[in-house]
C-alpha cells in the first residue's frame, strides 16, 4: 500500500481513537472520513474507484426504490436485509442444483424473486388482514432469515470441499459490465427500474392513486382501487426486487459466485431503508440518496483500508444519516 496512505492512516487512527474515546465518536470519524484527503483519494481518485462506488450503489438503488415504494403507500418494508440475504441464498441453492440447460441462471433468479415476494406478501398480509404492524413482523422475519440463511449455508448446503462456510460455486453466472470493479447488471437494472418507477409514480394516474394511499385509503377506494390488494402487491413487488438485488449480487461473476454464511449483515438492506427515507415524497431523490449512501459505504471501505478501523464505523455514519432522515420524514407536520 502507498506510504502516504499509510502515514495518513496513522494520523487518522490517532484522531479516530481519540474521537471514539471521548464519546463524540461518530461525528468525529465522519469528519475524518470526509476531510482526510488520503481517504478521499482512495475512494474517488480513480476511474476504478468510481466504478467501485457504482458497484456499491447499484443494489442500494434497487433496495432503496423497493423501500420507497412501500413508504409512499404508508407502509415500510424493514426486512430488507433479511430478504436481500434470502434472495442471495435462493439463487445459490437453485443455481447449484440446476442441470446444464440453455436457461442458465434465469430459473434461479425467478425462484429468488418468487420466494422473496412471498415473504413480502406474508408481511403485508399480517399487516392488512391481521393488523400486525409491518415493522414488528419485518424485524422478526429479519432475525428468522438471518439465522436461516446462516444455518443453511453453513450446514446442509455447505460446500464440503471448502473450509469456509459457504455454498458450492454456481454453474452459471451473470456477466459483469466491468471486471475491474465487479460492476454487474444490477446497475443497469437499477437505472431502468428507477426510471420506470419515477415515471409511474409521477406521471400516471395509477401512480397518483398509489401516492394517495400514503395519506388516506378512501380516495383510492372510492375510485375503485382496492387499497389492501394494492399494498399487498406493492409489498410483494418490493420484496421481490430486494431479493433480485441479492440474487444478482451472488449470481454475478465476481467476488461471490457462492453464498457465504455471513452474507446477512452486508448492510445493503439497512442502507436501502436510509435511501428510501431520504428520498421522501419524491422518487427523483432516490438517485442522489443512493449516491450519498454509496459514498458513505465507499468511504467506509477506504477508511477501513487506510486506517484499519473496522468498516462498521462507516455503518455508524450511515445510522446517523438514517436517524436524521427518519426525524425529518416522521416529524409532526404543522397543521394548516
Amino acid at each position: 500500500m502507498d506510504g502516504n496512505v499509510l502515514s495518513g492512516g496513522d494520523h487518522l487512527v490517532k484522531h479516530a481513537k481519540v474521537a471514539l474515546s471521548v464519546g463524540a465518536s461518530v461525528i468525529g470519524v465522519l469528519s475524518l472520513m470526509w476531510l482526510q484527503p488520503d481517504v478521499f483519494t482512495l475512494a474517488f481518485g480513480s476511474p476504478i474507484a468510481f466504478l467501485r462506488l457504482l458497484t456499491l450503489a447499484s443494489p442500494l438503488l434497487i433496495t432503496g426504490l423497493a423501500v420507497h415504494a412501500t413508504l409512499v403507500t404508508g407502509r415500510i418494508l424493514i426486512a430488507g436485509e433479511g430478504i436481500y440475504a434470502a434472495g442471495g441464498l435462493m439463487v445459490a441453492l437453485v443455481g447449484t442444483s440446476l442441470p446444464n440447460t440453455p436457461l442458465g441462471l434465469w430459473p434461479a433468479l425467478v425462484a429468488a424473486v418468487a420466494i422473496c415476494s412471498c415473504i413480502g406478501i406474508l408481511i403485508s398480509w399480517l399487516r392488512e388482514v391481521k393488523g400486525v404492524h409491518e415493522v414488528i413482523s419485518g424485524l422478526l422475519i429479519n432475525y428468522v432469515l438471518q439465522l436461516l440463511t446462516r444455518f443453511l449455508a453453513s450446514g446442509p448446503f455447505r460446500d464440503p470441499a471448502s473450509d469456509a462456510p459457504h455454498t458450492r460455486e454456481l454453474l452459471w453466472t451473470l456477466p459483469l459490465l466491468s471486471s475491474d470493479a465487479d460492476v454487474n447488471v444490477g446497475l443497469i437494472l437499477g437505472c431502468i427500474l428507477t426510471a420506470a418507477y419515477i415515471y409511474i409514480l409521477h406521471k400516471t394516474i395509477i401512480g397518483r392513486y398509489v401516492r394517495s394511499l400514503g395519506t388516506t385509503d378512501g380516495v383510492a377506494y372510492v375510485a375503485g382501487l382496492n387499497p389492501v390488494k394494492t399494498r399487498l402487491m406493492i409489498m410483494a413487488g418490493s420484496a421481490g426486487l430486494i431479493g433480485l438485488a441479492g440474487a444478482i449480487s451472488i449470481g454475478s461473476a465476481g467476488p461471490f459466485r457462492r453464498f457465504p454464511a455471513d452474507f446477512y449483515g452486508s448492510g445493503v438492506g439497512f442502507d436501502g431503508l436510509v435511501v428510501g427515507l431520504l428520498a421522501g415524497p419524491s422518487a427523483w431523490l432516490l438517485i442522489p440518496s443512493t449516491l450519498l449512501m454509496g459514498c458513505i459505504s465507499h468511504l467506509s471501505d477506504a477508511l477501513s483500508l487506510a486506517t484499519s478501523l473496522p468498516r462498521q464505523v462507516g455503518s455508524l455514519a450511515g445510522a446517523v444519516v438514517f436517524l436524521i432522515a427518519a426525524f425529518f420524514r416522521y416529524r409532526k407536520q404543522p397543521r394548516t
Binding site: T204, I206, S212, T216, G218, Y221, V222
Partner: protein, 483 residues
C-alpha cells in the same frame, strides 16, 4: 354560576394573517366579553377559519395581537378548538381521546367523567369504541367532548353543525347555551345564518379577510348578514325556483329492499332525508359503492349488486362522498393532481400508460374553478391552502363535470355559504338534464333538498318510509317525518 367579568375574554387587535406570505386576513379587530356566544359569518374563503386558527395558535400572526382574559390563577384562560374536519387519531378509543385531551393540559379525567362528558355532548357510544368506527357527526361530538374535557375559557367552533341533523343540532346548541350560561366564551364560524340569529348574541361579518360589521343579532336581519357577506352582484342570494317536473317511463334506477323500492327516472333529482344513524347511507352506498345487506340495485335494468366499485364507475355511476378529506381529496396535492381522483380510467391499461400533461390538466382545473367560483383562482395551489368551502366547490365541480350518467351525492353543501349552495343547486339540476342521467342526493340541509330535488324520500331504521314529490313537502313536514 357565571360571574360577570369586565375584562374581555378575547381581544383581537389589527390582526394580519396569511399563508405562505399571501395575506388572508387584514386589519381584523374584535373584542368579545366573557360568556358571549359570538358568531363569525362570511362567504367561503372570507377568513373565518383562519381567524379561529390564529386564536388557537395553530398559525402564526403576521401582525397585530391576540390576547385572552386571565383565569383565577392569573394565567391566560385555555382556548379549545373544535375543527371542521376532526384531527382525531382513528385508532384510538373514545375514552383514550378524552383522557389524552385532558391530560395534555394537566386536567385529570377519570372514567366517570368520560361517561359524563359523552352523555353531556349526546354521544351515545361506549368509551372503548375506536374513533374509526364513528360517523362524521359522532366524531364532531367527540371533538366537542375532548374540548370540554380540557376545561376551556374560550371555545372555538368551526362549522360545528355542518354534518348534524336538525335534532342533533338542536341538542348541540342547547349544550352550548348551557356552557355559555356557566361563563364559557364561544366563538362559532358557521354558514347557517338561522342558527346565528337564533343562538348567538352578536355576529361579526367578514368579507375577503376584512371585518364588515359586528352587531347584536337582535338588531340585524339575515338579509343584512347576507348583504354584508357579499354584494348582491357577486352572489346568488335566491335559490333557483324549483319547477315541478313530471317523470314518465321506466325508472332508470331501482333500489329495492324490505318490500320498498326507491325508483329514480331519467333526469330526476331524488333526495334522501334521515337522521344520522337512520341507515340512509346504506341506500347511497348500495348504488355507489358496494352490495348492502337486503338491498338490490338495478341501473338501466342492469343488476349491479355484485359489481365492483370500478365496474360501477365504468357504468357511469359517480359518487361525491361526505368526507372530502378522507374519501375524495388529497390535501397535500395540488388541485390539478386532485382533478384526476374520483374514478380510474375506463380501460385499466390507461391508468398506466398515458403521460399526464400538466398544461391540459391545469386548463381543465381552471375551467372547473371558473365554473364553480373556486377561489383563489390558482391551479397550482394545494387543496389544504383553500378554505373548506372552496374545497367542497372544487370537489362537487369535479364530479358534476364528469360524464357520469348516475350521480350519488352525499352532503354536497358541507361548509358552503348560502350563495354557493344555491349555485350548486343549479349545477345539480343542470347535470340531471343530460341524457340518461339521474341523481340521488342526501343532505341534512332540508331547504337545499327542497330547492334541488324532484322527489324526497325519508329513511328511518334503514327502511324507506315515505316518498313524495317535492311540492308535497315543506321543511316542517320533512322534520316531522324524519323524527
Amino acid at each position: 354560576m357565571h360571574v360577570s367579568n369586565p375584562q374581555p375574554a378575547l381581544n383581537l387587535s389589527n390582526l394580519v394573517l396569511g399563508y405562505g406570505g399571501m395575506p388572508v386576513v387584514d386589519g381584523f379587530s374584535l373584542s368579545i366579553p366573557c360568556g358571549e356566544l359570538h358568531a363569525l359569518a362570511g362567504e367561503n374563503g372570507a377568513g373565518k377559519t383562519t381567524v379561529l386558527k390564529a386564536i388557537a395558535g395553530l398559525i402564526p400572526v403576521s401582525a397585530g395581537s391576540i390576547s385572552t382574559s386571565r383565569g383565577d390563577n392569573g394565567n391566560p384562560v385555555r382556548v379549545s378548538f373544535v375543527l371542521q374536519h376532526d384531527a382525531l387519531p382513528s385508532n384510538m378509543t373514545i375514552g383514550a381521546c378524552i383522557m389524552c385531551a385532558s391530560v395534555a393540559v394537566n386536567v385529570h379525567t377519570n372514567s366517570d367523567e368520560v361517561h359524563h362528558l359523552l352523555t353531556l355532548v349526546g354521544l351515545h357510544a361506549a368509551p372503548h369504541i375506536r374513533v374509526s368506527e364513528l360517523s362524521m357527526h359522532q366524531r364532531q361530538l367527540l371533538q366537542l367532548a375532548c374540548a370540554l374535557a380540557s376545561k376551556p375559557g374560550v371555545l372555538l367552533l368551526d362549522e360545528p353543525t355542518a354534518v348534524m341533523s336538525h335534532t342533533d343540532a338542536m341538542h348541540f346548541w342547547n349544550l352550548i347555551q348551557t356552557e355559555v350560561t356557566n361563563g364559557l366564551t364561544v366563538v362559532v364560524a358557521t354558514h347557517k345564518l338561522e342558527d346565528i340569529k337564533a343562538q348567538c348574541s352578536r355576529v361579526t361579518v367578514m368579507r375577503a379577510g376584512k371585518l364588515i360589521f359586528t352587531r347584536p343579532t337582535g338588531v340585524v336581519s339575515i338579509d343584512d348578514i347576507i348583504m354584508g357577506m357579499a354584494p348582491p352582484s357577486s352572489t346568488q342570494l335566491e335559490p333557483h325556483p324549483n319547477a315541478i317536473r313530471e317523470f314518465h317511463g321506466d325508472p332508470l334506477i331501482r333500489i329495492s329492499g324490505n318490500g320498498e323500492t326507491l325508483t329514480i327516472c331519467e333526469h330526476e333529482v331524488h333526495g334522501i332525508a334521515g337522521l344520522d344513524g337512520s341507515g340512509y347511507d346504506t341506500w347511497l352506498k348500495a348504488l355507489a359503492l358496494s352490495r348492502q345487506d337486503g338491498l338490490t340495485v338495478h341501473v338501466n335494468d342492469i343488476h349491479i349488486d355484485t359489481l365492483s366499485i370500478s365496474a360501477r364507475r365504468n357504468l357511469g355511476i359517480g359518487y361525491i362522498p361526505a368526507d372530502r378529506h378522507v374519501d375524495a381529496l388529497i390535501s397535500s396535492e395540488t388541485l390539478g393532481v386532485n382533478l384526476s381522483f374520483g374514478q380510474l380510467p375506463k380501460r385499466a391499461s390507461a391508468a398506466w400508460l398515458p403521460l399526464i400533461r400538466s398544461q391540459s390538466e391545469a386548463a381543465a382545473t381552471s375551467v372547473i374553478m371558473d365554473a364553480y367560483d373556486v377561489r383563489p383562482r390558482d391551479v397550482a395551489r394545494t387543496v389544504s391552502s383553500l378554505s373548506g368551502g372552496n374545497q367542497q366547490k372544487f370537489l362537487v365541480g369535479r364530479e358534476l363535470e364528469r360524464d357520469n350518467k348516475v350521480l350519488v351525492i352525499n352532503q354536497p353543501t358541507r361548509g358552503l355559504d348560502r350563495g354557493a349552495s344555491n349555485a350548486i343547486c343549479g349545477k345539480i339540476k343542470a347535470a340531471s338534464l343530460r341524457d340518461k342521467s339521474a341523481i340521488l342526493v342526501y343532505s341534512d340541509d332540508l331547504s337545499f333538498l327542497i330547492n334541488t330535488c324532484d322527489k324526497i324520500s325519508i329513511v328511518s331504521n334503514g327502511r324507506l318510509v315515505e316518498t313524495r314529490p317535492v311540492g308535497l313537502w315543506t321543511e316542517t313536514s320533512l322534520v316531522e317525518a324524519i323524527i
